[in-house]
């Protein structure tokens, strides 16, 4: 069975005045209908760039896709025409962003922005589009939707704006939703509401969901599978339970150990020394080796392959089996 979306060996570089930044170095993952893949990584890991490449909204130049394929229902989007990509955008795959205030156009009402899609892409009449827009705002639990549809983004509070953005993304009934840090900018009580909403919508519509985040708590709550990214690579891929119980990569391991826990008052947190690498100057061998507590000579010279640790479970570490059994 082909996955709904499959990203294969994606390589993207940014060509700037200061050099070429290798932002993605062989990223591959897949998502099926009805399942949630969390793409976990810190800033500079490439998680957002991957999403933007899937959507086809990368700025080219300075970004260039140098290798790889993105298959949606088996069709490679990277070789498709611009028109075809535009078709898929919104209809097949939709995206929501971190900052709703800058993702929504401030000079148009929220209703207009939803209706525009329906009128242009579905040929709906103004009246029908308006009715559908109100329905969508209702769906995302915005109270008094019939009136709020005429308001501007700045008149909504943070959580409401995020809901409006979700409503907008659902207008064309996409099969797959990419959520790029959708709750990072929100208060925690609002975050919980939004994540509940996303989950509800996903289950109802059997959508595939790619959730991009750096928050391990959110991941533990909602994800089915997790792809951990570092320096433009997927360094670990596992089922959510497996990942938390027995991480298979030193980076994941260190990350889990450095988290302050709500339910535990611990002693000093284990830290990961150093900084993520500069993408114009990725170290040779394993990109994590300068910071890895287990690094040995081979790590400095050889790029680790994706070791299979089980069904649908991989880790890009020379010592993956050791790491996983330690857990």
């Amino acid at each position: 069975m082909t996955a709904l979306l499959e990203v294969e060996d994606l390589h993207v570089e940014f060509r700037t005045r200061d050099g070429v930044a290798k932002v993605l170095n062989g990223v591959g993952y897949h998502v099926d209908a009805g399942e949630t893949l969390a793409v976990l990584g810190e800033s500079g890991s490439g998680k957002s760039v991957t999403a933007q490449t899937i959507m086809g909204i990368l700025d080219t130049p300075p970004a260039f896709v140098t290798k790889g394929a993105i298959r949606f229902h088996g069709e490679d989007l990277l070789t498709a025409s611009d028109d075809r990509r535009r078709d898929v955008r919104g209809d097949g795959i939709a995206m929501i962003f971190q900052d709703a205030l800058s993702a929504l156009n401030p000079v148009f009402t929220v209703g207009f922005q939803i209706e525009e899609q329906l009128r242009i892409r579905r040929g709906m009449s103004r009246k029908d589009a308006r009715a559908r827009a109100v329905e969508l705002l209702d769906l995302v639990k915005i109270p008094n939707a019939a009136n709020r549809v005429r308001e501007y983004p700045h008149q909504f509070s943070g959580g409401m704006r995020q809901r409006a953005m979700i409503a907008m993304s659902l207008a064309l009934d996409p099969e797959m939703l990419i959520a790029d840090e959708p709750t990072t900018a929100l208060d925690v009580t609002v975050q919980a509401q939004i994540m509940d909403l996303l989950r509800e919508i996903q289950v109802e519509r059997e959508m595939g969901l790619i959730l991009i985040t750096h928050d391990l708590g959110v991941v533990a709550d909602v994800a089915d599978r997790i792809a951990v990214m570092y320096a433009g690579r997927i360094i670990e891929h596992a089922d959510v339970f497996q990942l938390f119980r027995a991480p298979g990569h030193p980076y994941t391991e260190s990350l889990l150990e450095s988290l302050p826990r709500l339910d535990l008052k611990g002693q000093e947190l284990k830290t990961i020394k150093g900084l993520p690498p500069s993408l114009t100057n990725i170290p040779p061998g394993c990109p994590f080796h300068p910071r890895c507590p287990r690094a040995v000579d081979v790590c400095r010279t050889d790029v680790p392959a994706n070791h299979r640790l089980g069904l649908d479970r991989t880790s890009a570490c020379h010592f993956a089996e050791e790491v996983v059994s330690r857990g």
């Binding site: 208060d187 919980a192 750096h214 302050p260 826990r261 830290t271």
Partner: protein, 331 residues
């Protein structure tokens, strides 16, 4: 033995909302801090936690005397903080310092790191004589885990985590007794957060500092705090030791807040108590009458609109500002 170093009583800070072209008139008040009282003991960390609009950042500014309070008082080592002027105020500034949130705007981009960390010595010339300043700055950089040889570099040559360390070094220069930390790790990556948190913890035990640690991230607050105060719309709704707050919360807002924080443990899915509040946090310009939380509270009754609940011990062993306070283990 708990010895109070900072005692805040009924602190209020309202910002007037003004309109007008040349002469502005006041049309409303942003009730940022609306009657806050707490005690910070020597050597301990008081965590102040809350969501946006709760007033925690304004609290930090008022405590640092960057904004004058509208009413209320604060005593530092028994002396009235807000009455101090001139030389006494200068002395106070040495005792209570601040670490700010944004590593990208908290350092003057046109000054070298050495100048930034050395500025406290230039303002308070009696702390370090001119000849010894350079060494003092280098010692400070070393204390926070930075290379003292980088003294001539500029902030943009450092990463976010390192800039926070520079900010901490600056705060330590005058050997303060209390440091107000206003969201010091919120803008940092997860792996860097741990480094800075460890640093703050070490400095506290090495130098005998007391912290007012303000943050919105409950896990971070729990990690560093001895006692915790939960704020909502300008008021403290519950306060106690970290164990009391996290394991025996009695105020519905605290319970909802704890319930909303995702825990990095997938096996707890479906196990935890799920409390979901409706709507967004209301604006501090017109907070609800009586109990500010009543518009989102599932326990709200008539009395909540008419009578403001006071922060006193009701059930359990720590104060809670709710007419219907009831313990509920959420975490």
């Amino acid at each position: 033995m708990a010895e109070p170093i900072l005692e805040v009583t009924d602190l209020v800070k309202h910002f007037p909302v003004r309109v007008g072209v040349l002469f502005k008139r006041t049309v409303g008040q942003v009730k940022a801090v609306d009657g806050v009282s707490f005690t910070l003991n020597k050597g301990e960390t008081l965590g102040v936690v809350g969501e946006s609009g709760c007033g925690k950042s304004t609290l930090a500014q008022v405590l640092m005397r960057l904004e004058p309070p509208t009413s209320g008082g604060a005593r530092f080592e028994g002396r009235d903080m807000f009455a101090m002027r001139g030389a006494e105020l200068r002395k106070l500034r040495r005792d209570i310092q601040i670490v700010l949130q944004d590593p990208y705007t908290s350092l003057n981009p046109r000054m070298t790191v050495g100048d930034i960390v050395g500025e406290p010595f230039e303002i308070h010339t009696d702390v370090a004589p001119k000849g010894s300043r350079r060494k003092a700055v280098q010692d400070l950089l070393d204390t926070v885990g930075l290379n003292p040889e980088h003294i001539h570099r500029y902030p943009h040559q450092f990463s976010g985590g390192q800039r926070q360390r520079i900010g901490i070094a600056r705060a330590l220069a005058l050997r303060p007794k209390v440091i107000v930390c206003d969201e010091p790790v919120s803008a940092l990556d997860v792996s860097i957060q741990a480094q800075v948190m460890n640093l703050l913890g070490e400095l506290q035990s090495d130098l005998g500092l007391s912290y007012v640690f303000i943050a919105h991230d409950l896990s971070v607050v729990r990690h560093l705090s001895d006692r915790v105060a939960v704020m909502y719309l300008g008021k403290i709704v519950e306060t106690g030791t970290e164990e009391q707050i996290y394991e025996h919360p009695t105020h519905p807002y605290t319970q909802a807040l704890l319930s909303a924080v995702p825990v990095p443990d997938p096996t707890q899915r479906g196990q935890r108590d799920v409390i979901r509040l409706t709507g967004d946090v209301p604006s501090p310009i017109n907070p609800p009458s009586g109990c500010h939380f009543r518009t989102r509270c599932w326990k709200a009754q008539d009395i909540c609109a008419t009578e403001e609940p006071e922060l006193v011990v009701r059930t359990g062993d720590h104060p809670s500002a709710c007419h219907f306070a009831e313990e509920r283990t959420v975490v």
